[in-house]
Amino acid sequence: MTTEREEQVLRRIDRARRRKARVRDERITLAHGAGGKATHTLIEAVFLEAFDNPLLAPLEDQAVCPAGGARLAFTTDSYVVSPLFFPGGDIGDLAVNGTVNDLAMCGARPLYLSAGFILEEGFPVADLTRVAGSMARAAEAAGVRIVTGDTKVVERGKADGVYVNTAGVGVVEHHFTLGAGRARPGDAVLVSGPVGDHGTTVMLARGELGIESDLTSDTAPLAAPVAALLAACGDGVRCLRDATRGGVATVLNEIARASDVAVVLGESAVPVRDEVRGAAELLGIDPLYIACEGRMVVVVDGACAESALAALRSQPSGERASVVGRVVAEPASLVLVKTEFGGTRILDVLIGDPLPRIC
């Protein structure tokens, strides 16, 4: 039961929420790059404001552009990971797999990549050679070719060793469109493997927290699992998103909002490795917000849930793929978690970087 005064306050909040995004900060902070609310505000208020057009407006991980009768998928991403080398991969693997995955998320077959390098004066050539080797191997594994590139060197202190930018193109060979706005009540939600490995590995590899583990990054190309999914479910596949910055929680919130539906997640169904849980408990972080670099969230027609799961599990390192939730109509634009404890909670959008906490 709400009183009239309470209704008034709630309406005022809703009006405030619908107001156009505005960047309140005077300067860029790390939160603007963390993939949460601050990143979205920045993109909408600065970039969408300046570049707005129908191909950009959906703000998917890639654009699908008409090109001479074909449908071309096009994307770009920059890689600034620190440390450059971590258990299970390095910045080179990420730069190839990340862009391949952004292409794959619209169901495209990734074809060609560009590679741009911003190098800091003094950076060891041996390290650069190692990064390039990783990129070559990752490209071969993903079935793409690196066909063009660029190199710039900046003064010592103006960059952190090496930054890599890759852009990629691919072709969309099916007639339907995948997108965050296509989820419907009755759909099933899956993840393609255990979540949070990459983000936890990199956080611990920085060494500042003094925590040791045997974890490795999950960086991997997702083009093959996507092809398997499309073969198994066709246009029963609604939406694919790789759960990078902001983790599974952020992806699900984007889907719930874009599709104006609610997503109900079963907490105990989400695969999380013990070590990721251990580190997350220790640091007070929720694994659902930790980045992955080789895992995706999949929304399919509820009738396809079993075949989608079988398709994902048939892939190398897909054995822990799981159905983790379902789409319902109400309360629209919200992600709810059915907890292991038998309760419910609302899974909010991440405000900034997930910071270790003590309280």
Binding site: D25, R27, A262, E281, P331, E340, T344
Partner: protein, 375 residues
């Protein structure tokens, strides 16, 4: 994970919930305060309220150490962080908390050297590695955290690391609870006591709450079954007409606390005559400062701290919300001057604060959320 997983089972939760419902007198409502922000976090994260009958309400207390730091102290810390050749170190919790106008994250973006640490010992390590810099540790937290700071200061003194100092903002829980108890319009039936504070101070300090104020208190653990069981113990006391201090968290909390931690604490720190709490105002003898003997490691003595005072706007009614007297939407500035982007009071600072939670999700009734998750 041992001592974690076994306290999260839905079956035992349902059994406890049935016991809890059975203990509630028909037509009576019960309001309990969980003093500690960690409990608030557990309640929210696991959806504990779904196991409680409608007539049992939990009120979130003042035990979130970053939320109660007044804006002026944050501004003071930022002033220290901006001094030449200075490295400010802080727990992640503090990074986003706004002062009068800026947070640690903002100051970092503006060029201050602010580093996140997991332990005060990490700050000490940074001091050891940067002897040409002054390293300040932004110490926050209740009695749980203060002994760790104390041991770190003792270590700094032993190693003669004179470039290491602590900006001490440690607070003590009892005066804050007492301030709430002294409120004339208090409407609480009992307290969930802060389990981890109690590992240090033990259970004795709460006895006056039962003896003088007639409110039962159960020292509670942090897993969801711990909290449900503690609510069960509170209701049983009320049903049996008892009023006492009980320890649900005996696996971790010894009745006498941790004497070694208390000794370290009193060696390094002493009570301040008064300290301002965001939203609660000035509370006498409610915070700790570094003793004279460790002056070389006290940032308030080493630096010229401006002592910024940013008055809480008089229209902020956090105190009333904390005491359970007002609902968030009844506060004069809620949703207008005070929003999650521009928080005024403690209840809006933390995302789990009563006001922030209501701002984000108030339009969704628990019933709607429960309906949606029914299989």
């Amino acid at each position: 994970m041992r001592y974690v997983d076994e306290y999260r089972g839905a079956d035992k939760a349902r059994a406890l919930a049935a016991r809890i419902a059975g203990l509630c007198a028909p037509g009576r409502s019960y309001t309990f305060m969980e003093v500690c922000g960690g409990h608030t976090h557990t309640i929210y994260k696991h959806g504990i309220e779904d196991h409680l009958p409608e007539n049992v309400t939990l009120v979130h207390g003042p035990g979130c150490p970053v939320c109660v730091i007044p804006m002026g102290r944050v501004d003071d810390a930022l002033h220290l962080a901006r001094q030449p050749d200075t490295i400010m170190t802080s727990f992640g919790d503090m990074m986003r908390v706004p002062g009068g106008s800026r947070s640690f994250l903002d100051a970092k973006a503006e060029g201050a050297d602010i580093r996140m640490v997991y332990s005060p010992l990490d700050a000490l390590r940074i001091a050891r590695q940067n002897r040409d810099k002054r390293v300040v540790f932004m110490a926050i937290g209740f009695e749980t955290t203060a002994p760790s700071t104390a041991v770190t200061v003792q270590r700094a003194a032993a190693e003669k690391l004179d470039n290491f100092s602590v900006f001490c903002n440690h607070v003590t829980i009892i005066p804050a609870v007492k301030a709430i108890l002294d409120s004339p319009d208090l409407r609480l039936d009992g307290f969930l006591g802060p389990g981890h504070v109690s590992t240090v101070i033990g259970c004795h300090p709460y006895r006056f709450i039962a003896a003088e104020y007639g409110k039962p208190l159960v020292v509670a653990g942090f897993e969801p079954l711990d909290i449900l069981q503690s609510i069960h113990l509170l209701l049983r006391q009320l049903a049996e007409g008892r009023c006492t201090v009980e320890n649900q968290y005996a696996r971790v909390v010894p009745w006498d606390g941790n004497p070694k931690a208390l000794r370290a604490l009193s060696d390094v720190m002493e009570l301040r005559p008064s300290f301002e709490w965001r939203g609660l105002g000035t509370i006498p003898y409610s915070a700790l400062r570094i003793r004279e003997a460790y002056a070389a490691h006290d940032a308030e003595r080493v630096f010229d701290v401006p002592g910024v005072r940013v008055a809480d706007p008089t229209s902020c009614q956090c105190g009333e919300v904390l005491k359970g007297v007002l609902k968030p939407w009844q506060c004069k500035v809620f949703g207008t001057a005070c929003t999650p982007e521009t928080p005024i009071g403690t209840c809006m600072v933390s995302s789990e604060g009563a006001c922030a939670a209501y701002y984000n999700f108030g339009r969704f009734t628990r019933t709607a959320v429960r309906e949606a998750t029914r299989t």
